[in-house]
Amino acid sequence: MSAPRSVNRRTLIRNAALLGLSVPAVNALLAACAEAPTSSNPGGGGSDAPLEMASPDNPVTWPISDDNPPIDDGMSPEAGPLLIYNYADYLGPQVIKSFEEKYGVEVKVSTFNDTDEMLTKIRTGAVPYDICFPSYDQIARMVTAQIARPLNHSYLGNLDNVWDVFQSPWYDGEARYSVPYSIYTTGIGWRTDQVTDDIAGMDNPYDILWTPSYAGKVAVIDDWHTCMAQVGLRAGITDVNTSSADDLSVIQDNLTELASTVKPKVNISMYNDLPAGQIGLCQMWSGDVVNAQYYLPNDTSVDVLQYWFPEDGKGLVDNDLMLVLKGGNNPVLAHLFLDHMLDEKNSLKNFGYIGYQPPQKVLDTDRLVADGYLPENLATAAVQESWFDTGYRLLELDVDNDQAWHRIWQQFKAGA
């Protein structure tokens, strides 16, 4: 028993000693000690090539490797149960039920808090999930590490229903690995009984979050990239993936100012907190504000909710995906589920539950209000297909830049 213990203790003592030293001395000392650096830079770990980063300017079609082929045509579905990994409240129970009835299988949905957690847990292989719902900026890693399974489009007839933009998107040419699930914008949501300003009429509507009189009522999205990108937009930084140190320091200053003026909450439960009145003003995803109407107390009118997104579409636009996982035991069933979700009727039913719009051709974006999908005061939450050309897209960042962004975010989250 003494072997691991003594090493352990010795190291602890060494660390304790280190803490007592001055920081520069520690730097020098440890730098000298590090014989074989296993740094966080690419090449330090087990893999060879740096990750290819897709962007609208650099569309990528991911290769299909021999040891991870798509499934064959015309196979019959497995017996299930189908294991789905998703955000909470992000999949309508009715559409799950209709799938269960149609194929006589059981569907089990597990939830994660953010996609980082999703990736970490999928990689442990603890549960053989069949389907997950990532964002497009994870697909590079998931394909490269062969976590995703290439799709066989013969099972996915309903893919024709979605907008042309997504038939062969820049992040996944020929939709080889993914199909689109939902589309949304990131704007500002508020309650008219707590915020009386005419936000849409302001010169810079983003400024509203920095209004001192709303201290304690403000929340921002607990996602470093989304939150910081919107903070950057306030300061006119339209490159939402910027690697310029100047831009980042502007974002940092704005974020610090935000923290000190309004002490915002940082979470992703706006769809509940705003209707419940716990917050009055927040960064918000369009899908959440649509969803929020179902969380309003009975005695509160839906008119109280408002959402703003730039009318010209020059704001943050996003979409989430559905992916079949290589580690799952039910690949055929998984394909069928994807197709089920791309079905016109089902996706509209699902829209009615989750509030996030599917990119279905049948949905006439100008008529969402008239067709009853959105209340009049939330017409601004409708997502236009053209915005995917004009809007800003959050991309995966290279390692150094990613660290620079995270450092600022960490400072903000640590309340420094």
Binding site: P4, N8, T38, G44, G45, G46
Partner: protein, 321 residues
């Protein structure tokens, strides 16, 4: 985490005390090691070894694709990038972690002192003066142990909501507007939550210790003419000091890792504690090593009080060790 062994006060040595000259035969001799072995192996596997894994992660590398950690088992090949990152960002220009660490210290100390201020009179009363109410009072004091911590926090989330009872009661007289937003970044609320959550963990060990104080000494002091206060200050308090210290340790050590109280009662970075830093970074790609570094930091800070606690308990156990 319920109550705990506390170092005994001045108590006569338990029977069976020191020396144990006995044990016959081979079975008798090997019985102790045999019985203890499974437990010891368990602790080595799941308590000591994991701490080494933390070291291997902290001083390890990062997978270039997933930014997840690659533990490095050989200490010779350890890279110190992550701990250095953490250490260099505590104070100074880049001191992004410093405020949270300082905040943790302030919160934990304030909450512990408040806990003691509340717990000591109660434990003293129940242990020494409550008479026939003692059983009932003790049962009520223990009740919070059976109510989940989360539920007790949830109760406060309800009370402190914008339209919750607290705001309503406050606004009854019309003196205050009653529109205070309690659950957003108030240090006071988080400290209140900590005190509320942890004070039972202090009352019970304090009670156990004070209950054992030999009443003869105190009564003797009174008989010899000491006043109520003077008897307390000059006899009771000095005798109960080891118990008080142990109880404070038992309360503030778990508080050091707390992140959920701040999460539930504030949700704002303005009240982030070191537990929140750990919780934020542990599953974030590329930062798991930092989480490990924070774990080590807390471990180092708490090592001294922990060793003190272990020592004092073992001393109180006398010859058992």
């Amino acid at each position: 985490m319920t109550a705990a062994p506390v170092p005994a006060t001045k108590e006569p040595q338990a029977p069976g005390g020191p020396a144990a000259p006995q044990r016959r035969g081979i079975v008798g001799k090997s019985l102790g090691p045999l019985l203890a072995l499974p437990g010891i192996v368990w602790l080595l596997l799941f308590f000591v070894a994991p701490l080494y894994v933390v070291l291997a992660v902290v001083f390890g590398g990062v997978d270039p694709i997933f930014r997840t950690v690659i533990p490095v088992w050989n200490p010779v090949r350890w890279s110190s990038e992550q701990p250095i990152y953490v250490l260099t960002h505590i104070v100074g220009e880049d001191g992004i972690f410093g405020p949270a660490l300082l905040r943790t210290a302030v919160y934990v100390l304030t909450a512990s002192v408040l806990c003691l201020v509340i717990a000591f009179p109660i434990a003293y009363y129940v242990a020494r003066l409550a008479g026939r109410w003692r059983g009932l009072l003790l049962a009520l004091l223990i009740a919070p142990f059976w109510i989940s911590y989360m539920m007790r926090m949830l109760a406060w989330v309800n009370l402190l909501a914008n339209d919750g009872l607290v705001n309503r009661i406050v606004s009854v007289g019309g003196l205050f507007p009653g529109d205070t937003v309690w659950l957003s970044g108030h240090s006071g609320v988080v400290i209140l939550g900590l005190v509320y959550g942890y004070v039972p963990y202090m009352i019970i060990p304090l009670y156990a210790g004070l209950d054992r104080l030999p009443s003869e000494l105190i009564e003797g002091a009174r008989d010899l003419g000491a006043g109520r206060w003077s008897a307390f200050w000059r006899v009771t308090w000095p005798m109960s000091r080891p118990v008080v210290i142990a109880s404070i340790l038992l309360t503030c050590l778990p508080m050091l890792g707390d992140y959920f109280t701040s999460d539930l009662l504030s949700g704002s970075p303005q009240t982030s504690m070191v537990g929140n830093l750990i919780n934020e970074t542990v599953l974030t790609p590329g930062q798991t090593g930092q989480a490990g570094a924070f774990v080590l930091l807390v471990l180092i800070v708490s090592l001294l009080p922990m060793v003190y606690y272990v020592r004092s308990v073992q001393r109180a156990d006398g010859a058992v060790v």
